[in-house]
């Protein structure tokens, strides 16, 4: 054990949901494991661990990334936000309400990742040439066929327009 602790790398300090988190484990550990196992934030799901399904999507400095492919060390010095943080935001609640109205959720396993991606796109709609379906290119949903999700986003946008008039 002594020998092992000598080799242990220095602790990382990550910023997750505005909180400082010390990580003394493997610096190459996937960020998703730090989030789920170390911090107990299980809103971020694991569907494949190979970056193909998008269930583990979180935000790093506001941009959606698949946290299964991000080594913990590379998140140091950046702002990580998970769905647990986003649900406190007013415009996230508007998205939730619209998803409920349109049937954008069924089994729910892909849903947190999709919600994170959608919320991020709603903050900067210039991304992906303004096309939300393109923004979802890294999120697989097997239940809904996506159309209800796209309609939900359209409605969020339409309601904002209405509110501004």
């Amino acid at each position: 054990m002594t020998e092992r602790s000598v080799q242990e790398p220095a602790a990382l300090t990550l910023t997750v949901n505005r909180q400082q988190v010390r990580w003394t484990g493997d610096p190459a550990a996937p960020l998703v494991d730090v989030i789920r196992e170390h911090m107990g934030l299980t809103g971020t799901k694991i569907g494949c661990r190979t970056g193909e399904c998008g269930a583990c999507t979180v935000l790093i400095d506001g941009k959606p990334v698949v946290s299964c492919l991000v080594p913990a060390a590379s998140a140091e010095g950046h702002e990580v936000s998970t769905i647990e943080h986003l649900i406190e935001k007013e415009d996230f609640r508007a998205l939730v309400a619209s998803m409920l109205e349109h049937g954008g959720v069924q089994c729910g396993f892909c849903t947190p990742g999709i919600m994170v991606t959608l919320w991020a796109w709603l903050q900067d709609r210039e991304l992906f040439n303004g096309d939300v379906a393109s923004a979802l290119k890294n999120n697989i949903c097997r239940c809904t066929g996506y159309r209800s999700i796209l309609s939900a986003v359209e409605q969020v946008i339409a309601r904002e327009g209405g509110a501004h008039e």
Partner: protein, 745 residues
């Protein structure tokens, strides 16, 4: 309404990342477990050495066939399962050794140190080859490697064949589809002498799972409890699974909780995909386009053990005959063992596969007769009031209106003037709302409605939420009966120790079977509340709008709950009701009325095929359904669109490729499923006529929404290219070959 209770499947929780699936659960002292599997499709095991694996620090248990029970068991009447393989492995992925450890690192180290010697045996991978005389025997005593041989015959097909004016058909192939649930397969098992075995397992038929696992372990059924956490997708894959049993034996041996969650590679390598079926089909018609016969042979690959393939085979051999009047039908089904991973059901359950072939052949007949494909269908469909050739009693059927409406919505008249490489295709479908033969002992469902002391209502059912919307549907049914806000109604299910028995969510059962039970229980609750109010207050008391009104005063359900508890030693007001449908067990000839009612659908797909690459893009889709009264429009529509998306994936891109028993594309990268850009707008309409047997007139939605999709898209591609694809998927490569006459058919 200040809601204090939440269903575990609450949709708001799912949207906020608050739902806890198996992967999110931890128990104190929990071990992590894994399985050493066969690398060969068929081999004799000559040596198993786990000594080194046992020495790895952190390893708590290493079990081989010598350490586990060997009872005859299986989830269907074919009892061919084991827990761990003893002498012989039958497919790549067959389980040989189970390991439980303190950490993933210890588990992986132990699995890598397991030594097993094999003597490879000849293997067979195709059902027709499996029936040949010199084929390797997969299970002793099963002649021709064929555990199931279906023969259905009505009328005189040979006579009709001679009289037919036109005949079309050929050999059609439906492929292996990975169900593609986002939540990988997993389980958490715990054992104690007091409580017996508890499994947190995502089974949507948990009572059958309980019965199966109890038999595997030699336990009485009531020593096994299955708790079903929210299920992250299944589509038929997560009925009853071997890894659940393996976790159970490990928990029993170690006296500690044991968790297994497959990673995506293992999940796909060992997947139990949709049963691949080969159809030799022929349909004949007279000069006017009236069908005169259908002749069919089906070859099904069960894989090395029986999961739900027999039920899929029986469905493929019969159900389409209750969409159209073929007048004379004959079908022979051969379900065979092979050395592939066991196959099982996926949404559509043999009907979607069969309808791909049937709907394709019908379009070929229309072409041969120079008829509109919609017109030939309209001429031959079943109608309300009829009893079909296999005994289905159609008390409601608006298939004719579905056809008319889908023509209008899709602009079917455009079909003749479409630009090159564009096509419109139509297909129809039926399905069941529950199926009598799932459990020969009984049919139906039971529900409890409970008035809690808070004045809120809880509904308890044995059926299972899969995300299809069962919970919100049941809440709405109770709300309609009692006039209570549906948000004050919580739906609970998925615990064999707490909630009523249920056959489970399969065969599109939940809305009609469970819904009828819920409606009855709610009706009884209405009577009980009214009675109690009259006793307590006086005969003029009325229960309306979710409250009791008496003279000029209003009392809430919270008051009612207190009145009841005062009179019943504190017990809650609870009612329980069962719904037993008037269905008939299909007889030995497959004749009978197996479902309370039958939903129908007519779909139209529009495609554009790229002549350079053969790639198909579905650019429009219209789905018109007769599912009786729709109880929850939002979720019903979401079911239809989701099913269409699965069908688009199936026909245009998905194929679980298996060669010599080995999956060639076990990742989501190599097994591509549709993304948001692959799905066009889908127009969904419901022709709502109440069916006399459904709750508020409802029929099922979940599977009938997928059944017509492969046929509709295949017909659209044939229309666009002038070439008939007979093998799914109609991938870019395959369509290109068809268009360039280098078909691999």
């Amino acid at each position: 309404m200040n809601k204090t209770a939440k269903s575990p499947n609450d949709l708001m929780s799912k949207l906020q990342g608050e739902t806890r699936y198996i992967h999110d659960m931890q128990l104190p002292g929990q071990l992590i477990a894994g399985v050493f599997r066969s690398p060969y499709p068929h081999a004799r095991i000559t040596r198993v050495d786990v000594a080194k694996a046992k020495e790895v620090p952190g390893v708590v248990a290493v079990l081989t066939a010598d350490d586990v029970p060997h009872y005859e068991y299986g989830p269907t009447k074919y009892k061919d399962w084991n827990i761990l393989a003893k002498d012989r492995v039958l497919f790549v992925g067959d389980e040989i050794v189970a390991v439980a450890a303190e950490s993933k690192e210890a588990l992986d180290a132990a699995l890598a140190l397991i030594e097993v010697d094999f003597e490879e045996l000849p293997a067979v991978f195709d059902p027709e080859a499996a029936m040949r005389e010199n084929a390797p025997v997969i299970h002793e005593g099963v002649g021709l490697n064929r555990p199931m041989h279906v023969r259905v015959e009505r009328g005189d097909v040979e006579k009709a064949r001679k009289e037919a004016y036109i005949v079309r058909g050929g050999r059609y192939y439906s492929n292996r589809i990975y169900q593609g649930y986002l939540e990988p397969i997993g389980v958490l098992a715990q054992w104690s002498e007091e409580d017996g075995l508890t499994l947190w397992a995502a089974s949507h038929i948990p009572y059958r799972a309980r019965e199966t696992y109890a038999a595997a372990l030699g336990l009485p059924e009531d020593r096994v409890r299955i708790i079903v956490p929210p299920i992250g997708g299944s589509f038929g894959a997560k009925y009853v699974l071997k890894v659940h049993v393996i976790a159970a034996v490990l928990a029993m041996k170690t006296n500690r909780p044991v968790k297994i969650v497959l990673d995506r590679l293992e999940d796909m390598m060992t997947a139990h995909p949709r049963v691949p079926l080969t159809f030799d089909i022929e349909i004949g018609a007279d000069r006017e386009g009236n069908f005169v016969y259908k002749k069919l042979a089906v070859y099904g690959d069960a894989g090395a053990r029986i999961y739900w393939s027999p039920n899929v085979m029986a469905t493929a051999c019969t159900r389409a005959d209750s969409v159209y009047h073929f007048r004379n039908v004959i079908a022979e089904g051969h379900l065979c063992y092979t050395n592939n991973s066991p196959t099982t059901c996926m949404r559509g359950f043999g009907n979607a596969e069969m309808l791909f072939a049937v709907e394709s052949v019908i379009d070929e007949l229309a072409l041969g007769l120079d008829m509109d494909p919609a017109e030939i269908r309209m001429k031959n469909i079943v109608r309300a009031g009829e009893t079909t050739i296999h005994g289905y009693k159609l008390d409601s059927c608006r298939l004719d209106e579905c056809i008319e409406r889908v023509k209008q919505l899709s602009g079917w008249e455009r079909r003749k003037q479409l630009p090159p490489y564009r096509g419109l295709g139509m297909a129809l479908a039926n399905h069941v709302s529950g199926f009598r033969a799932i459990d020969p002992r009984f049919d139906g469902s039971t529900a409890v409605v409970r008035l809690k002391s808070t004045g809120e209502l809880e509904v308890e059912t044995g059926e299972i939420e899969l995300g299809q919307g069962m919970s919100v549907t049941y809440a709405r049914i109770v709300s309609k009966v009692l006039g209570v806000d549906e948000n004050a109604i919580t739906v609970k299910s998925g615990d064999t120790a707490r909630y009523p028995f249920g056959i489970g969510t399969l065969a599109s059962r939940s809305t009609v079977m469970g819904g009828n039970a819920v409606q009855r229980a709610a009706g009884e609750m209405l009577n009980r509340i009214t009675e109690l109010a009259r006793q307590t207050l006086g005969p003029e008391a009325v229960f309306t709008g979710g409250v009791i009104r008496f003279k000029d005063k209003t009392y809430t359900l919270r008051d009612v709950a207190a009145w009841h508890r005062a009179q019943h030693a504190g017990d809650e007001l609870t009612v329980k009701a069962s719904y037993v449908p008037d269905t008939e067990m299909p007889d030995a000839t497959y004749y009978g009325h197996p479902s309370p009612n039958y939903p129908f659908a007519a779909h139209v797909a529009e495609v554009e095929v790229d002549p350079e690459t053969g790639r198909t893009r579905v650019i429009g889709y219209w789905a018109v359904h007769d599912s009786g009264t729709i109880i929850h429009h939002t979720m019903a529509k979401s079911q239809v669109v989701g099913a269409v998306a699965q069908g688009i994936g199936w026909v245009t891109m998905e194929d679980l490729q298996v060669e010599n028993g080995r999956v060639l594309n076990p990742s989501m990268m190599d097994y591509r499923m549709p993304g948001a850009k692959d799905i066009p707008p889908v127009v969904v309409e419901f022709i709502e006529e109440p069916d006399p047997h459904g709750p508020f007139g409802a029929k099922s939605v979940g599977e009938v929404a997928l059944d017509p999709v492969p046929g509709a898209i295949a017909n659209a591609i044939a229309h666009a290219t002038g070439k008939r694809g007979m093998r799914l998927p109609l991938s870019a490569e395959r369509v290109w070959k068809l268009m360039n006459d280098t078909s691999d058919q």
